[in-house]
Amino acid sequence: MTKHDLIIRIAGEGGEGIISAGDMITQACARAGLDVYTFKTFPAEIKGGYAMYQLRASSERLYNQGDSFDVLCAFNGEAYDLNHTRLQPGTVLVYDSPGGDFEPDIPEGVHAYPIPMTATAKDLKSPRAKNMVALGALSQLFDIPEASLREVIAAKFARKGDTVVQANLTAFAQGRALAAAQTKTDAYAVEHAKEKRDVVVMSGNHAIGLGALIAGLDFYSAYPITPATEIAQYVARHLPKRGGTLIQAEDEIASISQVVGASYAGKKAMTATSGPGLSLMSEMLGMAFMSETPCVVVDVQRGGPSTGLPTKHEQSDLFLAVHGSHGDAGRIVLAVESVQDCIGLTVQAFNLAEKYQVPVLLLSDGSLAFSTQTIPYPDPDSYQKVERKRWDGEGEYKRYAQTEDHISPMADPGTHGATHIATGLEHNELGMPNYTPANHEAMQAKRFGKLKDVVTDFPAAEIDGDGEAELGIIAWGSSIGVVREAVQRLRDEGRKVKGFYPKLLCPLPAGQFEAFGATCGRLLIPEVNYQGQLAHFVRAETSLRPESYTVCGGLPFTPGMIVRKVKEMLA
């Protein structure tokens, strides 16, 4: 298999420009027509701490952050210490020397390029341009398009004036010269793109914000929490341009309450949070189900339980998303795979909420939140947008009228002749409290009856591969992208494996799971959580008996991990 991609990891102290250097390479590669997939870890601390930016660039389509880096660019000793075990023979180390804070013993077979990053920046009297020296060196060594990088640097510092732009470009040029003076011993280089494509580069969080704007969002209530805050940040900047409202609430209970109030008033409304916030919202989610009030809640999952690992990746809120609220409280749960999905599934979340008058939860995760990816330029007009069914003014208005499809027309305040109550108490068709056994059963049947059609309404889960397979892998969320590549590699090695990639997790499309399972000898569900949460639901709702592969170290799976696991199972 020819290698198309290059993976560069830049690591050092937060505040040294690690993230911005990485972003610039990403932008430059995207401009040059390459596919880029990035992965970042931030320090949980406000200042300092270890920061890492890994970017994978390729002329082929990318689905995940890859296994491990080909090139490590270490800004300091800590970055080297944390990564040196992954410096396998054949990999490359670019590091700050002489003049840095460490002098590594270069492992056998590793190509090493010492670049005096700190010292050069100091000599140029722009100590903050250390990252530009590194950027120049990387650009020279791995053929990262120089012209694009220069454009990106100029654009990035334009606001700070010409002097700053020039200083950074000088540091960049110096970095290139320093690298050019060394003998290149490795063969890594960024591929050249086959064609220029019309793309945008977005993070998962920003893409969710964009999806909401496309869906016709009117009202957003925010409460800050890592790793979801950038959704609010994006919406706060752009929603007022569309005449909409973003407000910061006093807590997540208030956020979801405001969303329900705004939705009752007839608007498309949402909030986004992470696990701790979703825990607080669970009572109001039940009210939204009971009162049949559409709303969209995004949960960008992080490591739990409790305050947990706030900046780390995990897929451990599925139980909470599906069942978090007392009583039998239904909802729709979707999970995104990629930045592309963050747009499309957010639009779908609104459409489903409006159509079925239920809360829709959209699960993203810590690595997708900050992962920037190149995606085709999204055409806002290409998305279908659904509005809630509104009363036609005929006859007596019954807010909770029993209908064939169980969906009762809504009426915005201001509609003449349709005054009614939205209530969390069990009620009859008119909304009046009614606790008789017959009524409660009829109304629960109505509310859950609506959800029956969701499984057929929503696009069927993608099946990767045909015919019979020795092993089928079922994945959800951002693990799907990892499994796609693992399945491909295993197939290239002649293994009979298939993948199944559901995005609708509640109601669970059990029939689709069964049909997939019937074509596979064994089933594996890899998830980044301790309990095997999707596997639990699959065992409960289907006759399948999948095997679980769970990790919860705060990091996503890599394709290599899945490949190893499958080989182990099929050995």
């Binding site: 990403t26 932008q27 995207a30 945008v200 580069v201 977005m202 920003h206 964009l210 704007l213 496309i214 016709g216 009117d218 009202f219 209530s221 752009h238 007022p240 341009k241 569309r242 005449g243 909409g244 409202t245 407000i247 609430a249 006093e250 807590d251 209970i253 208030a254 309450s257 969303v259 329900v260 109030g261 705004a262 939705s263 009752y264 008033a265 007839g266 608007k267 409304a269 009572e283 109001m284 009210m287 009162s291 190149t374 330029y377 999204p378 806002p380 509005e387 305040p413 201001g414 003449h416 002749g417 349709a418 005054t419 009614h420 109550i421 939205a422 209530t423 969390g424 108490l425 009046m432």
Partner: protein, 301 residues
């Protein structure tokens, strides 16, 4: 649905009709105990609605959970019976979504100042344009006689069988401190004053808080209709309602003397949250037809 944002100075009572107070009564009979103060609050509210002349089709009554929070069922209007303590933020969302609606929040002292206490400062400081009628009976009624944050210490309840161990808080003093732009107090049996304060509260542009001492003959034996009436002193014509210090002073002096200050305590005009939002949208030149591609273009590499 991206409706064009409403006019810059949205007033809650754009939609007027001429209806008698009984025409605001919905055809559900109040479920309250006979003699409950909440009946009186409802009567005053219905009268105030008639005097304001608000169109029931553009009125939203929003409540939490408690005996008092059942009030919306009895008023002809759009309405939401939400969760214990959450009426305030639900109303905030509805008001911001539709600034042309008239919104009345109602609920008890437990609902507003215990479980919902965290929302109160924010309704006040944000100046959310709603009218909040707190039906303060110094006890938890619906759950059958437990201490509330406004219960007198000596009161015996299910959870304080030997008398309480905590001091009560004073809702009006809190709302003054939190920055409410309209703060008033009355008692349920005084329909005339209560009606006037609710009406003026609805006409006030901004967050209007009216604490109505409402007796619970079933579970609160220490505060009855008579004791509320006898302890009340209505503020005099000399009281300067625009002076926050004076308002706090009146409340503090009354409390010290074991009295209840009633009437309009404080009222000031300042921009409401929805006005500021509308102004922000105008400042950025926002409109429903703003081309999304202009936003998407910002993410081109």
């Amino acid at each position: 649905m991206n409706a064009p944002h409403p006019v810059l100075h949205p007033q809650t009572h754009l939609h007027k009709v001429a209806l008698q107070s009984k025409e605001y009564k919905d055809n559900v009979n109040p479920f309250w105990c006979p003699g409950c103060g909440h009946h009186g609050v409802l009567t005053s509210l219905l009268r105030a609605l008639s005097e304001v002349g608000v169109d029931p089709n553009f009125l939203v009554n929003i409540s939490g959970i408690g005996c008092s929070s059942r009030l919306p069922y009895f008023v002809k209007s759009y309405k939401m019976h939400t969760l214990h303590g959450r009426a305030g933020p639900v109303a905030t969302g509805a008001q911001l979504a539709r600034p042309d609606l008239a919104i009345v929040v109602s609920g008890g002292d437990g609902d507003g100042f215990s479980i919902g206490g965290g929302h109160m400062p924010h309704l006040a400081r944000k100046n959310v344009n709603v009218t909040y009628v707190l039906m303060d009976n110094h006890v938890y009624g619906l759950t059958k006689c437990q201490a509330s944050p406004t219960s007198r210490r000596e009161m015996k309840t299910v959870t304080t069988p030997y008398g309480g161990v905590e001091e009560p808080l004073d809702p009006v003093l809190y709302m003054l401190t939190y920055g409410a732009s309209y703060v008033a107090q009355s008692y349920a049996a005084n329909a005339k004053l209560t009606t006037r304060l609710i009406k003026e509260g609805m006409e006030h542009k901004g967050f209007a808080f009216i604490n109505v001492l409402s007796h619970c003959p079933t579970f609160n034996e220490v505060d009855d209709a008579k004791s509320f009436k006898e302890a009340s002193d209505e503020v005099t014509a000399e009281h300067d309602v625009t002076d926050l210090d004076a308002a706090m002073h009146v409340v503090n002096m009354a409390t010290r003397a074991g009295r209840i200050p009633t009437g309009l305590l404080y009222k000031v005009e300042r921009p409401t949250l929805d006005e500021r939002m509308a102004e922000l949208v105008q400042r950025v030149g926002g409109h429903a037809d703003y081309d999304l591609k202009q936003i998407i273009d910002l993410s081109r590499p």
